[in-house]
Symmetry: C2
Subunit: 176 residues, 2 copies
């Protein structure tokens, strides 16, 4: 049986710059109640960009939550109400300098629907022209390029640890 959980009360316990933390009290069957901890997130985009040499543009950056550098596809969060495709064009340019002639929507998904509403929209960028990257003032990023078959092998070897990147690489390699 699937039960929709009606909200009895809702409280924002922290209002952040990027995320909010909200606690909902929900009603369950038999007049029982439970709390749900919900991280509100504006959502984001990821871009899998393929050069004419059939290489994927990846970025490596330090991620504070895991205290390590992570290899990922270019990505970024949606500005308030921003169209995801516009965001994808903007983030690819800012992070890597590349402009894409074609920016095709592939799929969207929730990164972890048990505790956050973050939705990530994935775009496939081709027809790339290289320009100058314009990272945010607080963004320190290195660009690396990989053949897609090497990235697939890295996934098999458990060397890529970012969910949106794994999804995008397997999707483009296996489903396009």
């Amino acid at each position: 049986m699937i039960v929709r959980e009606e909200t009895m009360s809702s409280e924002i316990v922290y209002n952040g710059k990027i995320v909010n933390l909200r606690i909902d009290t929900v009603e369950l069957p038999k007049q029982r109640y439970s709390k749900r901890e919900i991280v509100e997130h504006p959502g984001g985009v990821g871009i899998i960009a393929l050069t004419e040499e059939n290489e994927v543009i990846m970025v490596r950056q330090f991620r504070k939550p895991i205290e390590d550098c992570v290899l990922e596809i270019p990505a970024g969060k949606l500005d308030n109400g921003e169209d995801p495709k516009k965001c994808a064009i903007r983030e690819l340019k800012e992070e890597t300098g590349y402009e894409a002639e074609n920016m095709e929507f592939l799929l969207d998904f929730y990164s972890s629907p048990g505790f956050t509403d973050e939705k990530i929209h994935i775009y496939f960028a081709t027809g790339l022209k290289n320009g100058k990257a314009q990272p945010d003032e607080n963004e320190y990023i290195e660009i690396e390029k990989y053949k897609i078959e090497d990235l697939v092998q890295m996934i098999k070897d458990n060397e890529i640890h970012d969910a949106k990147s794994i999804i995008s690489i397997l999707y483009v390699d296996k489903l396009l």
Copy 2:
């Protein structure tokens, strides 16, 4: 250039049942400082379980953060310090009733390394024996079975919206 961000100060602003919200002040080059909002999460497991009829066991449940029912592989969060493989065996049994003769580690990844340390460990379960599900008191779950090629088609059609499920289905279909 990749910059490791040293923690200057750190404050837990909310201590939850499942997640904590922590604000770190970090040092950047040129003696600049920034805040990082970090959702601490115990991590979890996902199980892609294949029956002898070559069907994948999926669960459908209401997810409060997105106010909708979501089709996912069986999954659950790690109890304090729990071994991920033991967690996978326990969660598969609790959510679906199935016990697996073989529980093979496939890969692990961060669900969204920009704001949370949540790490998900994926296991591949085969040699299944059906028993009785023992969901948590507050868990309402429906079990559905799908041929893996149908799940792959559903991913192409953008009908599966859970990151760990997309990764696990594409991994098993394309890489095993």
